[in-house]
């Protein structure tokens, strides 16, 4: 492939600059420089900070210890927060996968309203998260919001519900907003997956007069395995790391009933000024994300040859 370059002998100064390794180095300097200076270096410092007890910028004691991580285990709030984070992720991802697959099917079919359907799917995705959060906060407003207005008019409830101020309902409300915002992405990935299904495979299934449900299960879904796993991975990572909508809609309240790991770490850092503890929590989030990715990578590579 690089036959032209392989034939060149790297002798002399001019030829030296043509060696692939050096060229690659030059081309990668900006990227690597940015990542090293603004990501790797701070991460290392943050990790060290999590091994100390930094108060107001200075470590209170010399040396490193795992006391912050130990504190995570005895933190009375952490059980609730960890559960919230996992619950949030599982519910949002499952719902998004199901609804997103249905959406992908709808988008796949060409009709006179396809353009409107595509545009409708793009709107939540293009809406900035902050806007979606404030929008849904208003929709869930107990006194003036459209949800209570609608439910009251339909006589499904008899008194206004304080969606964002009631434990249990608060997290649910944020889940609704997140599913609204994130399902289109899954639908687009599923659509792309469906467009990769060879036409003759679809035709063959149709001709075989297999019922639509059988067609779905045996023909279409295997092809959707990769896009669905990719979507599940992306959305699971996003769920574990969720911050903006919780921060804006509920601030983790009431009483941590909707608090999640990222928001808790943020509060520890900027409200309680426990910098080391916040750092430790955030690294645990990172580890959880890594585990997720490993699991999904394993799922993706297993039985990969089965489709063709």
């Amino acid at each position: 492939m690089i036959s032209a370059q392989r034939g060149v002998h790297a002798t002399g100064v001019a030829r030296y600059w043509q060696r692939p390794a050096l060229q690659a180095t030059m081309l990668l300097v900006p990227t690597l420089g940015i990542l090293l200076a603004i990501m790797v270096y701070p991460l290392v410092k943050g990790f060290i900070m999590s091994l100390q007890d930094v108060q107001a910028g200075m470590p209170t004691a010399p040396g490193l210890s795992l006391s912050q991580y130990a504190h995570v285990l005895v933190d009375p709030f952490l059980q609730q927060i960890a559960w919230n984070t996992v619950f949030f992720t599982v519910i949002t991802v499952t719902t998004e996968l199901v609804l997103g697959t249905l959406g992908g099917f709808l988008l796949h079919r060409r009709s006179r309203i396809s353009w409107l359907l595509s545009a409708a799917f793009i709107v939540p995705w293009a809406t900035p998260t902050v806007v979606a959060a404030t929008m849904w906060s208003w929709i869930f407003n107990p006194t003036f919001g459209s949800v209570n207005s609608l439910l009251l008019e339909l006589h499904l409830i008899h008194a206004p519900v304080a969606w964002l101020a009631t434990p249990g309902y608060a997290l649910f409300s944020v889940i609704v907003m997140t599913v609204w915002k994130s399902t289109p992405l899954v639908a687009i990935l599923v659509l792309a997956g469906m467009q990769h299904i060879p036409g003759d495979v679809m035709e063959a299934a149709r001709v075989d007069s297999a019922g639509p449900l059988k067609r779905l299960w045996f023909v279409i879904l295997p092809y959707l395995r990769v896009p669905l796993l990719a979507a599940a991975l992306l959305q699971s990572i996003a769920g574990f790391q969720v911050f903006t909508q919780i921060f804006i809609m509920t601030s983790g309240g009431p009483a941590n009933s909707s608090n999640v790991a990222s928001v808790y770490a943020y509060q520890q850092m900027f409200s309680d000024l426990n910098m080391s503890y916040a750092s430790a929590i955030s690294f645990l989030i990172a580890v959880a994300t890594l585990l997720l990715a490993v699991i999904y990578a394993g799922l993706l590579s297993s039985r990969e040859g089965e489709i063709t």
Partner: protein, 281 residues
């Protein structure tokens, strides 16, 4: 067979209509709210369609009521930071993508996977030490610092997408240019760049949308009103405009317009970019 087709059509149209309603109605409600005065919104059953269009919310955003809402700053800063971040990202990522797609060197695979893997680093784990670091180098609250912070995740993402595209350009085109005496940078500039324009557009738009949307870094780093980006300004409305949901809705609508227009106009580029990374290798 006829029965199945009609049932299929019915299901499709039913599903499509339900989807359109569910997906669009919150934004419609936001638009509806933005065009009514806050006083008319503060009822248990606000009107579904404004009786007459009220533009006061939109003008209030830009300070005609005498109060500086910061919305103008938010718009300006988000646009500026977005454009600069996108420009730097595309330039840096294209160079890196070329090196991964075309050159053979020892750490190639390791470096590529490492760079792509950094996307999984949660923002929260970076924001804490970055805050301390920026404080030290006096970058806290500056837009330069914000751009630098954003580059940590926009660049790996762009590299991920662009590597695939550069690799798909036939090598013969590169080699023809090299035989004509082009240096590596020359090849990138005259051959790769023009051919990668669709990919660059898609990646550029996705980058801009990501920056426009970003909240965690912005709310942590930006301190003064003059330097806040739009998401931070809008989030701040909840304290400022505690009961004034009219201007908040108006701000929301205006904040939706740029990304929505970009996404709709460049739909094809955007979906291709999104799926390229997730599905193709």
């Amino acid at each position: 067979m006829i029965g199945e087709k009609t049932a299929g059509s019915l299901l499709y149209y039913a599903g499509a209509i339900v989807s359109i309603v569910l997906l669009l109605s919150p934004v419609y409600w936001e638009l509806n709210s933005s065009l009514q005065s806050t006083s008319s919104l503060l009822t248990a059953h606000p009107a579904w369609v404004p009786t007459h269009l009220y533009w006061g919310n939109y003008t209030a955003l830009f300070g005609t009521n005498g109060a500086n809402t910061g919305f103008g700053y938010g718009l300006f800063n988000s646009t500026l930071v977005g454009l600069i971040t996108t420009a730097i990202t595309l330039a840096v990522a294209l160079l890196a993508a070329y090196s991964f797609a075309r050159l053979r060197f020892r750490l190639r695979r390791t470096l590529l996977y490492s760079i792509v893997a950094t996307q999984m680093v949660p923002g929260i784990v970076l924001v804490i030490p970055l805050f301390v670091l920026f404080q030290t180098v006096h970058l806290l609250g500056s837009r330069v610092g914000l751009v630098l912070a954003y580059l940590t995740f926009t660049v790996p993402f762009a590299v991920w997408i662009l590597v695939g595209f550069v690799a798909s350009i036939p090598v013969q085109v590169d080699e023809a240019a090299r035989i004509d005496g082009c240096s590596v940078l020359g090849v990138i500039r005259h051959v790769t760049l023009p051919l990668a324009v669709p990919a660059l557009i898609g990646t550029g738009i996705l980058t801009f949308l990501t920056v426009w949307d970003e909240f965690l870094f912005a709310v942590t780093f930006q301190q003064t009103l003059q330097e806040k980006t739009l998401p931070v300004v809008l989030a701040g409305f909840i304290g400022k405009f505690e009961v004034q949901y009219g201007p908040l809705a108006a701000g929301g609508i205006l904040a939706i317009v740029p990304p929505l227009v970009l996404a709709l106009v460049f739909q094809r580029y955007v979906t291709r970019g999104l799926t390229a990374g997730a599905i193709v290798g």
